[in-house]
Amino acid sequence: MDFFDRFAIPHPSPVIYASMVAITLTLVAIVAGVTYTKKWGYLWREWLTTVDHKRIGMMYLISALLMLFRGGADAIMMRAQTALPENTLLDSQHYNEIFTTHGVVMIIFMAMAFIMALMNFVVPLQIGARDVAFPRLNALSFWLYFWGAMLFNISFVIGGSPDAGWTSYFPLAGNEFSQSVGTNYYMIAIQIAGLGTLITGINFIVTILKMRAPGMTLMKMPMFTWSALITNLIIVFAFPVLTVALAMGTIDRLFGGNFFTTTDGGMDMLWANLFWVWGHPEVYILILPAFGIYSEIIPTFARRNLYGYKSMVASIVLISVLSFVVWVHHFFTMGQGAMVNSIFSITTMAIAIPTGIKIFNWLFTLWKGKITITVPMLYSLGFIPIFTIGGVTGVMLGMSAADYQYHNTMFLVAHFHLVIIPGVVFAMLAGLTYWWPKMFGFMLNERIGKLSFWLISIGTCVAFFPMFISGLDGQARRMYTYSEATGFGIWNMLSFVGAIMLAAGFVTIVYNIYYSTRYASRDIGSDPWDARSLEWATHTPVPDYNFAITPQVNSSEAFWDSKKNGHKLFSGEYKEIHMPNNSGVPFIMSAIFFVLGFSLVFSIWVLAVIALLGIFACLAHRSFEQDHGYHIPVEEVKETEEKLGGAR
């Protein structure tokens, strides 16, 4: 293909041209706005170079919400196209691009960013730490994710989006059958973002293991921190597999390798295998933090401690190991034979046991409690029934012989959405509402929040339950059209209605943020929910150094203890506090990664080499740099503490 042809969109449509204009206008508006308000310096000093885990968390949050709407727009378009038989809203190519980007954006750039957002903001506070172990690497993680996401998101206006599904199975995704640059974007953008995720994994493991407040033994860690620890452990061992798989795919596509081709010994199955060796642990990377969030919220609003703390810990540890031994269930139908399928069928169903323990523990946490229904609690309570349905259909899918019938059908689509939406999206919205006052100093409106909850949870049921039926009736997933005779019409129309409700729910969330920002009271104190763990023990807004005095901990609900049992959290004098310096290198280096990625996507080798040298220059700079951070003097700490609510 000629050099300039690669930049053309394979199947242009008015929607795409409109998006190009919209993207350009938005960029111009942002640049003009920042310039007009003279905020470049502020932006650079306070945000782009920040290494503060709280600010990085907020930036993850904003990116995740943006990506939620990007992926959501894809979803609405898909449901609209299939709402009617033989609909012609989208053509096949466009539909294929949309479900591919929907999957990638939602999993890699929305859900992952959302959990990173909450982990970043909450974990250091919850363990009583000043920051994470490697603040600068933390910034690098975020910016790698951010620039990776940007690279992926420009695909649909420059060169065309990937169109081989989010699983990107070869040889369909290979050069033979996927000639546009779309899959190059997939391989490289995910690689860059994945590198950031791996760094986060290492960073948080060390943070949690080494930086806990005195007295907080492993078995006295709050459950969200436990889930974050195990999640990051899975990240560290799962993401390298994706790195290798993507590198092999990149070699195939850019350098003529033969890993997954149809000729010269290439083995297409190996991609599927490696993808799911990463892909299944990835599911648990997404769901475990959600479990942690529910384990914080349910006790708070049942006003009781978490039931069965030890079995909760045991079950997430067990899940972390089991998550690595079930991947073959994603391709039971690849012809391995009954023996292999049986092994992986059993391991798959075994995961239901620790998951079931968790569900029952949450239910028993309600027992003898004093339940108040707030928005975070509503999401947690809505999660239990919907997730149970998603979960038990997962067990059904785990039965290999029956899976031959469910595989690649709408039944599967229904299953994983009914797991991921309550398991991840509900949890993220619950966590967002729950920790919002700690982040921003005001609460989100409860009434609008409840409306959002009902729209989203009913929308989820309406959108995905019909898919069980159409799946069992023979509707394969990823079909852009179907004939009227198939009888799928009614179910798909219902799904579309559900999708509209979901969209309406998300719009009300945005409205809620707007409304609450304008009208909500700023006088909420530092503990508006009467909560139980350490993050609520510090001021709102949280000072840069989190805790002026490192707290003393004696149980997994240290703050509750201090409120109810008179445990003394903070004792001793203010001391000088050591803090890390801001740095522009993570931002610059990640931006160069973007350039490298872009030039690889379009095979612009000279630029790629220059970018690679740029990255090495950043690394060399870091090696020689001597940066010992700075100290906040005692007087300043005292002043800040008094301003924020009196010295303790």
Partner: protein, 306 residues
């Protein structure tokens, strides 16, 4: 309010099961393999409903009984660590269920991976089913005939489909006869099926394979054995033989109607099994240039031409 939501969910679940009884393809099997799978599915739906109902019941009970509006203002919930008996039950019952389901799963998997029960004594009818973008080619080596996009099969006889693909991974699926299996370019997979009742069944490629995927379907005509033999005779007499040239033409990406030939492509374009499998990819004629990166390469060049 919460109960209303829960009831709504339950209603959907019940509806899904009820409407599922008769018309849904997967639950309306016409062959022993599909029957096995439908039985497993219904059994698992039964057991799973029990779990779902248990969870719903506990949730509703807790929410009704322990709402703060039903408690006195000074009620302080107790601190409860956990209880070995309760935890034993919530581990024990799921373990038992998983053991039962594992036995069912393993047994049924061996069943569907073997010649259908009751047909072990006869020779199966072997059909090579090859997908290409976006068509299905069915070769009957025994009868020496080939069809495109439709199948004729005898009832009450074991069928052995040999699946492979000329291009992306596809999945051969006839829901009413049995579950699907992948067709891939570098190996042949085997799917055992059989039809109990005559009729016309829907078959399709279930694995996403690009632009023409949605329309990548075929029809399956199950007829009585003697009727099948008549059809074979008729094809052998009236249809044209399949030439290599014609075959390569058929492989061009696109959609075709139903076609019939009185010879198969297996001789001049053998399936990737045995010495032609990916493992010992034998032919070396045109491999040397293919390694080069060539974005314009048409995939028709990649036929296994000998």
């Amino acid at each position: 309010m919460k109960i209303k939501g829960a009831l709504l969910l339950l209603m959907f679940a019940v509806m899904a099961v009820l409407t599922g009884c008769e018309p849904l393809m997967v639950l309306n099997p016409k062959g022993p393999q599909a029957q096995t799978q439908a039985d497993v599915i219904l059994l698992s739906i039964g057991i799973m409903s029990f779990i779902v109902i248990a969870v719903f019941a506990i949730l509703i009970y807790m929410l009704v009984k322990y709402r703060s509006s039903k408690q006195s203002d000074d009620y302080e919930p107790p601190h409860i660590e956990g209880n070995h008996i309760v935890e034993g039950i919530i581990v024990g019952i799921p373990v038992l269920i998983v053991i039962v389901l594992s036995i069912v799963s393993v047994r049924s998997n061996y069943l569907v991976e073997a010649t259908p029960e009751g047909y072990e004594d006869q020779d199966p009818l072997v059909v090579y089913a090859q997908s290409s973008n976006w068509k299905w080619h069915f070769s009957y080596p025994e009868q020496g005939i080939e069809t495109v996009n439709y199948l004729y099969i005898p009832t009450d006889r074991a069928l052995e489909f040999k699946l492979y693909s000329e291009g992306p991974i596809t999945s051969f699926w006839v829901p009413q006869l049995g579950g699907q299996k992948y067709a891939m370019s570098d190996m042949v997979t085997t799917l055992h099926l059989a039809a109990d009742a005559p009729g016309e069944y829907m078959g399709r490629n279930a694995n996403f394979s690009g632009e023409g995927f949605a329309e990548n379907t075929f029809s399956v005509n199950a007829v009585a054995p003697d009727e099948f033999d008549e059809w074979v005779d008729e094809v052998q007499e009236t249809a044209e033989p399949l030439t290599e040239e014609k075959y390569n033409e058929l492989l061009e990406p696109g959609h075709l109607g139903q076609l019939t030939f009185s010879s198969t492509h297996l001789e001049f374009s053998p399936p990737p099994e045995g010495e032609h499998g990916g493992h010992h990819h034998g032919d070396s004629s045109d491999n040397s240039e293919e390694g080069n990166m060539n974005m314009d390469q048409d995939h028709e060049d990649h036929n296994h031409s000998e």
